[in-house]
């Protein structure tokens, strides 16, 4: 009886979700409140968590709550610690949530909010959360080993090396694209630049304090650091207005690029406790705080969506990024729907902290649902801005010009009516000299967040403060990702190069470290520079490349899970992994193919290069080049990007081949062949292997 009552509650929730989805999808011509989107998303998440995730846990992979986890088997109080599930949820969420779910939906909003919303909601339920959960399961059953090791053990040595190589390339692209977002947000913005610069001395001060004065006490010093950051924002406004200091911090994209490259190099060879760790603490707490504040803000403000449900740019002619809805929308929004990078976290620290297999569903599946919710909030923040302002902010200067008048005229022509006055007024409200062509997602999100925060705290007078707060919060965790990523990339590179020159593997050698760091910084710096000087804004080229690489890593991870299911003799349930894999392969291979060969030079690298070569033959100079030598450089860049795309496609196609081979081999055995750590029963539990209960 009680279970029937409970079922009725879930059915009611499903009906509410369906009604909210229908309201958002079917409303035409009338304004929709953002809360409809939020309600639709949350209802679908809860129903999926209650039914599909439970099915995945009990039936598809078969979690066993009597089985000892690595945290219990190897408990050392350090790396392996059985951890309360809510505490672990916080750890896992903080590790997976970064800039991705905030930026992707903002860029995708150029097609309207509806396709993005549907992909975020259904992508996470059927693909993203499935991947995070299954990889967590596979890794936990194998002593918390990493994705590279898992692929090597279950698929073979060669696919293992290929997967590692792919992961390194993805890392480089991610670092370049993240750095590009920071450059785009800080260019010609003395307020933003001085605030972000102030984080360096603040973090170093915190680092010294935690090292020598009160080691191991993070709380108090983080609070002081946070207060100093808020002061830095306020002082930043004065700095921007100062006739002496304003110009010092007014830097263009190329200057910021060189500063960032230099910074990346220095920061990643400094001791971690001095700069990286303290800034990581600040950025982690600020990130969680800002996400919570954004959620509260959206509920309190309940804003109306101003962006149409669908725009004319679904045909692929949009100014923010090029390419049609299929496949490029599903590439543009990676994090928030499905993100391959999470497979590295789900096979990293989290499986070593899990106290019982029954909590995998909450941590793996639930954690990803939470990230998806962050993406929904970013989509809302981008969609409550006046569409004309959105397009003026996100279109390249080559398309809309550099003045408020030209931008307003072009954007209005597209059907998003906006006046030059509104553009200059918005810039003044947020304390910037201009908001035109501030591509990259971060400034747009910051305008949206500033509107939400100002509506609940401070009013319009606080817009500029909140705008720079949002920029600071994004820049802070992107910079942390850049120097942590450079370090990680350096280790990967030393590992890879060590196969050929053993001396380079020695991480104790200063020369080897500096060389590997320089190579790593040089690699992402090359792409960053290329993106910054691109007249179409760089994001146009690199965001799709980033999306393709990230989704391909997801496909690799899901193929691993599929192989493991076959090896466990659970192939009849393997469709749960195969379905999202097939979709990801379809999207990424189509997108990769179009990035190579599409007839539109804005989409296809080779078409673009061919056009430039013809121009060179005619002796003509085309932007961004200013001379024939620079034309050659742009052509080389096109070939490098095309080569990278080919490499990504090679990685994923070879993994497809190896995974199918492994599945066929598994089918020939009548016994399970998965290489799990042998079963060990939880001490003090009775000998039965019932499925996981209904609890969280």
């Amino acid at each position: 009886m009680t279970s029937l009552v409970k079922q009725i509650g879930w059915i009611a929730l499903a009906v509410i979700g369906a009604f909210a989805l229908g309201t958002v999808a079917l409303a035409r011509g009338e304004t929709i409140n953002a809360l409809w989107i939020v309600v639709a998303a949350v209802a679908v998440y809860l129903v999926a968590y209650r039914y599909y995730a439970l099915y995945l846990a009990n039936t598809v992979v078969g979690v066993n709550l009597l089985r000892v986890t690595p945290a219990l088997r190897h408990n050392d109080g350090l790396d392996y610690v059985p951890t309360n599930k809510y505490v672990l949820f916080g750890h896992h969420f903080a590790a997976i949530a970064g800039a991705g779910p905030l930026v992707g939906p903002v860029l995708a909003a150029q097609m309207g909010y509806l396709p993005s919303m549907l992909w975020i909601i259904f992508g996470v339920v059927l693909a993203g959360a499935v991947q995070d959960f299954m990889v967590l399961f596979v890794s936990t059953r194998r002593d918390g080993r990493s994705l590279g090791e898992l692929v090597r053990e279950e698929l073979g040595y060669v696919p293992g090396v290929i997967a590692l190589f792919g992961a390194f390339l993805i890392m480089i692209i991610i670092l370049a694209v993240l750095a590009l977002i920071v450059v785009k947000a800080l260019a010609d913005s003395p307020w933003g630049t001085s605030t972000v610069a102030a984080t360096i001395p603040i973090a170093i001060g915190m680092g010294l304090w935690m090292r020598y004065v009160r080691p191991g006490r993070i709380g108090g010093v983080s609070v002081v650091g946070f207060i100093l950051l808020m002061l830095a924002i306020i002082v930043g406004g004065q700095v921007a207005e100062s006739p002496t200091w304003g110009p010092v911090f007014t830097l263009n994209g190329v200057q910021l690029t060189w500063l960032l490259i230099g910074y990346g190099f220095v920061a990643s060879v400094l001791p971690v406790w001095l700069l990286l760790a303290p800034r990581d603490y600040l950025s982690t707490f600020l990130k969680i705080g800002a996400i919570v504040a954004l959620a509260i803000g959206i509920f309190v403000m309940a804003p109306d969506l101003k962006m149409p449900a669908l725009t004319r740019f679904v045909d692929g002619t949009g100014p923010v990024w090029s390419g049609s809805l299929f496949p490029f929308l599903f590439i543009t929004i990676a994090c928030g729907a499905v993100s391959g990078f999470h497979s590295l976290i789900s096979s990293g620290t989290t499986p070593k902290l899990l106290d019982n297999e029954k909590n995998m569903r909450f941590i793996g599946y639930g954690g990803m649902l939470m990230e998806s919710f962050v993406a929904i909030m970013a989509l809302v923040a981008a969609s409550i801005i006046e569409p004309g302002v959105y397009f003026a902010m996100n279109s390249p200067a080559a398309v809309i010009g550099t003045t408020a008048e030209s931008a307003a005229a072009t954007v209005s022509q597209w059907g998003f009516v906006v006046t030059p006055e509104l553009l200059t007024q918005t810039a003044r409200d947020v304390g910037e000299s201009t908001i035109i062509s501030r591509a990259g997602g971060a400034p747009t999100l910051a305008v949206g967040m500033a509107q939400i925060f100002a509506a609940i705290a401070g009013g319009p007078g606080m817009m500029a403060f909140w705008y720079h707060f949002a920029i600071l919060f994004e820049a802070l965790f992107i910079l942390t990702a850049v120097d942590a990523g450079t370090r990680a990339g350096r280790f990967m590179l030393q590992d890879l190069l060590g196969t050929f020159v053993p001396a380079l593997k020695n991480t104790g050698s200063w020369t080897a470290n500096v060389l590997a760091t320089a190579l790593c910084v040089g690699a992402w710096g090359y792409f960053l520079y290329q993106g910054v000087v691109d007249p179409l804004g760089g994001i146009n080229t690199f965001w799709p490349l980033f999306g393709i690489s990230n989704q391909m890593l997801a496909a690799v991870a899901l193929m691993l899970c599929k192989v493991v299911l076959f090896k466990m003799k659970r192939e009849r349930y393997a469709w749960a992994a195969i379905l999202p894999t097939a979709w990801l392969l379809l999207c990424t291979l189509t997108a990769g193919w179009q990035k190579l060969f599409h007839a539109d030079p804005k989409v296809g690298f080779l078409t673009h290069a061919a056009g430039l070569r013809e121009a060179v033959a005619r002796g003509e100079v085309m932007a961004p080049a200013k001379s024939l030598e620079e034309m050659q450089q742009v052509i080389v860049n096109d070939y490098v990007n095309a080569g990278l795309t080919v490499l990504f496609m090679f990685v994923v196609i070879s993994m497809l081949f190896f995974s199918i081979r492994a599945c066929l081999q598994a089918l020939r055995h009548d016994q399970p062949t998965a290489q799990e750590t042998p079963f060990e029963q939880l001490p003090g539990s009775s000998v039965s292997t019932g499925p996981v209960g209904r609890g969280m």
Partner: protein, 64 residues
Amino acid sequence: MHEQLKAFVRGLRQTAYLMVGVPDYDGYLDHMRRAHPDRKPMSRAEFFRERQAARYGGGNGRCC
């Protein structure tokens, strides 16, 4: 009620610390007392430094 509140605050504190890669120090001491009573556990400062080095020393990437 008071006890529950204290447990909640302790949980929040543990969550915040683990978010930045530092597990519970008291938990570590407990573990050392139970499993390795013969060994001297690290001091809070040593524990903190060891965890910092472990979080950023290896090839652990960060998410996008």
